[in-house]
Symmetry: C2
Subunit: 354 residues, 2 copies
Amino acid sequence: MRPTVHDIAAKAGVSLATVDRVLNGRPGVRAVTRARVEEAIERLGYVRDVAAANLAKGRVYPLVFIIPEGENPFMRGLEAEVRLAATRSSFERTRIAVVHVPPFDAPALAKAIDAAIAEGVAGIAAVAVDAPEVAAAIGRARAAGIAFVTLVSDLAASARDHFCGVDNLAAGRTAGSLMARFLGARPGAVAVLAGSMLVRDHRERLEGFRALMAEAGGGRQVLDVLEGQDEPERARALVGACLVAHPELAGIYSLGAGNAGLVAALEAAGRGDVCVIAHEITEPTRLGLERGVIDAVLNQDAGHEVRSAIRVLRAKADGLPVIAAQERIRIDIFIKENLPQPLDETGTARAAEA
Amino acid sequence: MRPTVHDIAAKAGVSLATVDRVLNGRPGVRAVTRARVEEAIERLGYVRDVAAANLAKGRVYPLVFIIPEGENPFMRGLEAEVRLAATRSSFERTRIAVVHVPPFDAPALAKAIDAAIAEGVAGIAAVAVDAPEVAAAIGRARAAGIAFVTLVSDLAASARDHFCGVDNLAAGRTAGSLMARFLGARPGAVAVLAGSMLVRDHRERLEGFRALMAEAGGGRQVLDVLEGQDEPERARALVGACLVAHPELAGIYSLGAGNAGLVAALEAAGRGDVCVIAHEITEPTRLGLERGVIDAVLNQDAGHEVRSAIRVLRAKADGLPVIAAQERIRIDIFIKENLPQPLDETGTARAAEA
DNA sequence: ATATTTCTGATGTACGTAAATCAGAAATTT
DNA sequence: AAATTTCTGATTTACGTACATCAGAAATAT
């Protein structure tokens, strides 16, 4: 069996209370005694039983996730993952609340952050909007001793503890690389459909994509960005017009949401030959892949991001270090052939990595 | 706070003992009373605190992982993941042992399984070799009430409870699809490098690859399989000879291990133009991607597989159902641009700013 | 109505840790 | 040497559940 605090006490020849003081960094232990206890811990290979410890302290960590409202299917999936994690994590003495804010609305986000601070939560996770007032609110949270992570989209000039999301520059480069390889020698320009240049993740993806297309050579033209506000209808209109204006168009990189409109426009124009690369496995992109309208989808696993955010928030709330490598979110590539089956109706399905 | 057994007892107007009987399916409760208790459980939304429950029962699950020995870097990575999970899972009252067997050696594997049975473990995970004596040993394990999962490579005609690995047919198809797209209209045959046609996962990958290449049209020739036994030196020799015999070779699909040899042969021949698709992110494939010798790597996340195997074994040992969709392992695609950075020896990231 | 079986309540211990209290020992200061 | 401070030990309660025991109540059979 694993050694317990009792074993340490016996081995070090001290009482349980002293072991407890050493283990929990409480004062009242002479340096010599502390060293003896620590040696016993080392020699016995003692590891704290977190379950028992949590049980004993009966502490709960109230966390808040601030997520954009609206129809964006990725955000809705993200929220579903938060709620799923919330039920699971009640075992881990974490209480999770979800708060909605309008998308791309910095003042509303700042207000939501301040509300969470007032509630006295232990940690906040938020999909950041890149604006000074948001950075200021994050500063206030941190000043109040509240852990803060940005989710999906970062905000560099802020005091956030950690960013839970993918390297969007690398994501853009990946999209560019796939586009270049899939198109090969085929001539024609490439269009880019984005949500808004006001969010950092979209800007970074575009930057990475453009950089790689330039490096790839061949002088392929990348057209001006179409900003669809992540809304399917706008995306449909923009892409439809673009297909008319550029009949020779060879590829489209959709780096935001609104992909239902993108697929609709392509199908309406009968342009299944256009090479399309999009982001995030959602209902529209899944259908697009299956029907061959979309060629590849880059994905960030929302479940991973949420669970990582929870781990980081709890660690920060406890003042523990975070192992960055463990929290890195991968950029998944999906094509028709390796597309995982959709979740079942219970919504519980997901390859849990915990 | 979450409701506890005490709350249920109060709500249902019964004693703690009765609640316990209902919760744990013990006899001695009238149907009427049981219904009352169950209603209270329902109404209060009671969920058993697994941590406290495990603590109380103090049960441990001894599990054994049987893994091929040798230099195969994927297997070594798999073993590392098992050991990592072992340290973490001691919290979950699981004790994990690792046993080595020679690769592709059915009698040795059967013997290892029988040894584990004799030890009275609660569950066994093994990288299967597709042979009748192995299936028989699995049958004996199951007959002894021991949970059994196959890991990475399956063995269909056996009594194993579950297979923890990817859909290798789909993996082969994915490789085929990428190969076809990357090559485009470029002429030339495609070679296949495998470990051994005696293991099921390699056979299935080949089948999927061939099927998709046929469907893709263009009449591209797929050469006879080169069997490298997952050994780098053999692979190097086979590929080197193949490059001489087929100067027009356009692509190579490496569906097993020994990729260090593959990369060496390609570099020696100066054939960076050959489109190469390999399996598993390991040191050689990572280097191959970074240097541009390998174009894409399909990966199965060994960590996911191991954790899934542990979850399944524990569930089976407890007689609980497994949600198959939750345990599905994805086929990851990596190219140079979305390759995750390797971890350094401390487990922390090399470049983790963001 | 009595005997018997079946159900239920009350109570206690255990799991491994956290945290508090209080008494006593050791070290330090006066 | 006495007074004080600082350290340490012993002990207890608590967390939420599992599990065992025993007595008593209720239901059923005789």
